[in-house]
Structure formats: C-alpha cells, structure tokens
C-alpha cells in the first residue's frame, strides 16, 4: 500500500515538475523578447500544457488512476545511471577508447561477471574497436587517450 502511495506522490511530483519547467521556460522566453514572433508557439503551447497539467493533477487527486503495475526497483537502476553519468563525465579526460573500456568493464563487474578474461577482453576489444571505427568514419576529432583522435 505504501509503494502505491509513494508512486502516486511521485506521479504528482512529475506532473508538477513539468508544469514548473514550462512556467520557467515561458518566463525565460518572455524576458528574452515579448515580441509575437518569439512567443507565437511558446505561449499557446505553454498554456495548453499547463491546462492539461491542471486537469491531470485533478484527475490524480480525485483517484481516477488505476492501480499501478509494479515498476522496476529504483535501487537496481541507480548504480547504472551513476556509472553512465561517470562515463559521460570522464570522456574529456579518459577519451572514448579508455573511457568506454573502463565503463564496460565496471558494468560487467558490478553485474556479477567474474571471468577476468571476459571482463577485460570484451571491454578492451569493444571499446577500442568501436572507437577506431567511429574515429575513422567521423569527419571531426574525437577525444582519445591512446588511439589517435
């Protein structure tokens, strides 16, 4: 029952957040320029989203929502999101070659893969081969630590 309540509150929070972002964006756009050209789409669409958010919030509060199916536990998703965030943040320093290899190796290790040959072999092979392929294909330099960018 608690998880249902938490989900309901989180659902409300998401709707409020969307409405909040829309209000902020509308103010930001209006501050930048109140000319009709600038607001011709932003103003009506923002008002539409806000109206829909109000309807949705009333719908949720009045209980017109179905019991939710059990979603995946947040606890198992957080490590993946954190690791992916670290990977993206480290790209300027570690480059795509080493960064990708480390990301894959860390992911495999966290998810129970203990065969060192597989962890290192797959991570290094995948990271370096894909980095090599993309650096050959793309017309601009890629951040790399070992391979030529």
């Amino acid at each position: 029952m608690d998880s249902q309540k938490n989900h309901f509150l989180a659902d409300l929070f998401v709707t409020f957040t969307i409405a909040g972002i829309v209000v902020w964006y509308l103010i930001d756009a209006y501050t930048a320029s109140s000319h009709i050209i600038n607001l011709i789409l932003i103003l009506p669409i923002s008002l539409m989203v806000l109206t829909l958010c109000v309807i949705e919030i009333f719908r949720q509060i009045s209980g017109k929502h179905k019991a939710i199916e059990k979603p995946e536990p947040v606890a198992s998703v957080i490590p993946v999101i954190s690791l992916f965030t670290i990977y993206i943040a480290s790209l300027p320093w570690l480059g795509f070659d080493v960064g990708t290899s480390l990301f894959i190796a860390a992911f495999l290790w966290i998810h129970g893969e203990r065969r060192i040959i597989w962890v290192l072999g797959y991570a290094i092979a995948f990271g370096f081969l894909v980095a090599l392929f993309f650096s050959a294909m793309l017309p601009y330099p890629m951040p790399m630590l070992i391979l030529p960018g």
Partner: protein, 501 residues
C-alpha cells in the same frame, strides 16, 4: 502518362553496361550498416561516400546513393526491433510493436516482416512515382507554412491518442516536447531556455535526445533482466521464421497499400518526410484494426505499417527532388549535391528533357528492392543473434554505442550529455506513463512548427482570413478535427438514430 521511348532509353542506360550495377550491392550494405548503427544516419553515409560518385557517371552515382537510401530505410528498423533504438527517426513506430515482438521471442518474425514490408513498399512507392511524379510535385507546391503547422499539431495529437488511457499525459508529453524543440536561438533573434550554455544555442540535439529517451531509458528498465528474450527456446535464430515473416506481408495488402500511399504522399513533403509517415501509417492501421488494444504489445501489422511507410517515403522524397529540385531531407540534400557535381539541375525541365534518366532511376530501385531481399535474408540471421547476448553485456555495449553515435551527430560532448539527460527523462516518463514517443516527436518537430507558424504569420500579416484562402489548410484542419472527435461524433449520431428508430 508514360513516355515509352524514354522508357526504352532508360532500360538501355541501365542494362547496356553491367558495371552500372556494381555499385548497388555495396550501396545497400553501407545503407544497412549506417541505418542499423544508432547515431549513424543515412544522410551521413551518403555524405561520406558522396566524393566517390565523382568517378561515376550520373546514373551510376544515383544508383549508388539510392541504394544507400534503400538499405538505410530498412536498416533503421533492425535496432528498433532488437533493442528499441530506432536507428533513424523514420523507424520510431517500428519500435512500438517490433520491440515487444522481440521480447516475446518473435524477433525472427518481426525482422522478416520488416524486410518484406520495406522491399514491397519500395517497389510500390517507385511504381506510384513512375506514373505520378508530376501530379505529386504539383501537390507538394500547395503545401505552405500554414499547412505544415497543421500537420505538426495533427501529428502530435494523433500520436498522443495512442497513449490509451493516458491520453492527457500523452498530450502533456507531446506539447512539452514541442516546447523543448524550440529551445535555443529563435527567429526573433533571442535565445530561450539555454541556461546560459553555448551547447544549446542550436537547440536540443533531437536525435541524441531520441536515443536517450527510447534506448537508454529502456536499458535502465531492463537492468535486472537476464536476456532480451526470457524463454531460452525462443532465442533461436530461425531462417524459416524470418522467411515466414517476410511472406506474411502479402496477407495484409491493405496495411501495405495504406502504408505505401501515406509514405509516398507524406514523404514528398519537404522537411516532414518519413519521420511523420511511419507514425501516420501506424496510427491509421491501429484505428482500422479490429483489435486496436493489441498495438504496442507486439502486433505484427504495426511493424508492417511503419516499415511500409518509411520505405515508400523514399519514392515520395525522390519525386520532390526530381520534379522540383527540392530536397525533402538530409538524404535527398546529399543527392542534390550529387546532381550539382554532375552539372545537373533537378526540376520540371529535368523531368521533361531527361525522362530516360528518371525512368532509369525508378527501374534501378525496383532492382535494388530485389537485391535488398537477398542481402537482407543473408544478414538478418547474423544480426538476430543479438537476442542471445546476455543483458549485462548488451546494456553497456548499447549505451556506449549510443554515446559514440550521439557524439557523431553533434561533433562535441553535447550529444553524449543529451543522451544521458534524456535517458533520465525517458525513464521517469515511462515509469509514470507519459508517452515517450509523443515527447520525441515533439522535440523533432518543435523548431519546424515554430518556423511554419512565423512564416504563416508574416505572410498573412496576422489576419485569420488568410486561412480561408488556403483550401488545402482548411481541408487538413477539418481532417484534424475529425480525427480527434470524428469517432465520438459518429457514435453519438448512431446512438441518436437508434433511439429515434
């Protein structure tokens, strides 16, 4: 309608020298590869290989580039089915039912259907082009900014209506996406919503956002799963099932016909093209199906409808290019570059004076469709093995691939950062039933919707009566209103008639 002398000359151009066809197989393979790797676009493949066409004659160059286009249109559906990553924006609707089919162990069938629908609709699309290239181009000229604005709003509301019992949330997501699509430097010469970062001056990179919302967010949800397909017996790659999926498309001629006509018609509209065509075809198929609730849960006709439309839209965009010299999207823009490299200008004069070349291009595409069948049936069994890869290997590999691809699209780290941010947004949206697909369409079309509205405003001088001078716009507006409320109106009227009787 057909110029038989030019037709004969077109045949001669194609078949007098076998070397003309040598470039087709590499072209299809390059297209399939670039379509199947998320982040690599068909237009990117064509741009990379464009310099090679300098050493070819014009017909051979067009064969090579259209082969990449044809291969790429099908290739984009492969990751959409196997990983829920639409390889291109034209494969979004393929993922709606293709991915659930793959998760149920019907990956062989889904891939076969995608191949069958793609090849048959390419043939059908070019067949329409053969007879109707001029009328199509005249129709395209009637599409002004007012009509484009209506198309965008129509697209968003239609796709939101797919959200079942969460229609309001679907519309919130769609219109929120539209707003996100306007972030950056606007037509009024000011920046909106950039948070002071220069990365957002050109707006939110739409394709990396799509990759994050569709793929990365889905991978987060699958983190506790062992394999993409739970049942080990269902993971088997079966050429028989692929072939049976391929053959099954002929059992749904109306789905194919409707998808192909929508594909050609919408594909011909510059700027809209296949990104909208696949969604419109999907929506219409769902509406006409006796069991619309099965869509989104692995209904094979959903895959068929989407693939039929995105592949035939190639013919539509070629109609605009050949008859008007206007490229409908990135891929045809590269073709236009090939035109100028060979000192050829597309347009009414080109169609009139070089009809043999136009016919040669059309007939070459019939041939390409048959080659795509052979190459597709050879390569799908290899690609379908993705379902046998354990998820703890697949998840980081696909996340990394999306990161590489997004960097490839933006040329800087704004691509990977966008993937990350929109992966989080997509995960939250999916968790709380806000339609991810509608939000993505909104992001893709936001800038275009704003631009069309501004042009309409400037042309009309702010007068609503301008709309009355645009019968095509009125027709589309009526269709939009009917598609939203028509069903309810018909039910209401039917009930009233029944009561009176």
């Amino acid at each position: 309608m057909l110029d038989f002398i030019a037709l004969q000359a077109g045949f001669d151009l194609l078949f007098s020298d076998a070397s003309t066809w040598l470039v087709v197989i590499p072209g299809i393979l390059i297209g399939m590869l670039f379509g199947a790797v998320p982040g690599l676009q068909i237009s990117m493949a064509m741009a990379i290989f464009l310099p090679m066409t300098l050493y070819m004659d014009f017909v051979q160059a067009m064969l090579f580039l259209t082969a990449i286009f044809t291969g790429g249109s099908f290739g984009g559906g492969i990751p959409a089915i196997l990983m829920n990553i639409p390889g291109t924006s034209s494969s979004i609707a393929t993922a709606f039912d293709g991915y659930p089919m793959a998760r149920k162990g019907q990956h062989n069938l889904a891939l076969g259907i995608a191949l069958g629908a793609s090849t048959l609709s390419v043939i059908f699309g070019y067949f329409i082009l053969l007879f109707l290239v001029k009328p199509i181009s005249e129709l395209v000229l009637k599409m002004g900014p007012a009509e484009m604005s209506i198309i965008v709003i129509w697209g968003i509301t239609l796709i939101a209506s797919l959200s079942g019992e969460y229609v309001i949330k679907g519309m919130i997501a769609g219109f929120f996406g539209l707003l996100l699509g306007t972030v950056g430097y606007g037509e009024a010469g000011v920046t909106r919503g950039t948070l002071g970062t220069s990365y957002l001056l050109d707006g939110i990179p739409a394709i990396p956002a799509m990759m994050g919302m569709f793929a990365a967010s889905e991978l987060f949800r699958l983190v506790d799963t062992q394999y993409l397909v739970d049942d080990s017996a269902a993971r088997r790659v079966s050429i028989n099932k692929i072939f049976s999926g391929f053959k099954s498309v002929v059992r749904y001629p109306w789905v194919m016909l409707r998808g192909s006509i929508i594909g050609v018609a919408v594909g011909a509209v510059p700027g809209v093209g296949s990104s909208i065509a696949n969604l419109l075809s999907y929506i219409q198929t769902k509406r006409n199906d006796p069991d619309p609730d099965s869509f989104g849960k692995g209904n094979p006709t959903g895959v068929m409808a989407s693939e039929a439309a995105n592949s035939s839209s190639e013919a539509g965009s070629m109609a605009t290019l050949l008859a008007l010299g206007i490229p409908g999207g990135g891929a045809t823009a590269v073709m236009l570059a090939a035109f100028s490299m060979h000192n050829i200008t597309g347009g009414p004069q080109f169609i009139r004076e070089q009809t043999d070349i136009v016919y040669a291009i059309i007939f070459a595409n019939f041939g390409q469709a048959f080659l795509l069948i052979i190459l597709g049936l050879m390569f799908i069994p290899v690609l379908a093995n993705v379902v046998k890869v354990p998820m703890h290997f697949l998840i980081p590999s696909v996340l990394a691939l999306a990161t590489f691809g997004s960097f490839g699209l933006t040329g800087n780290l704004s691509g990977p950062i966008t993937v990350l941010i929109f992966a989080l947004i997509g995960w939250v949206f999916k968790r709380y039933n806000f339609s991810v697909a509608t939000a993505v369409i909104g992001i893709l079309l936001g800038a275009m919707a704003e631009e069309s509205l501004i042009y309409s405003y400037q042309i009309s001088g702010g007068q609503w009566s301008y709309l009355l001078e645009r019968p095509f716009a009125i027709l589309m507006l009526v269709m939009l209103i009917f598609s939203l409320f028509g069903g309810r109106l018909v039910t209401l009227l039917t009930n009233k008639v029944k009561t009176n009787v």
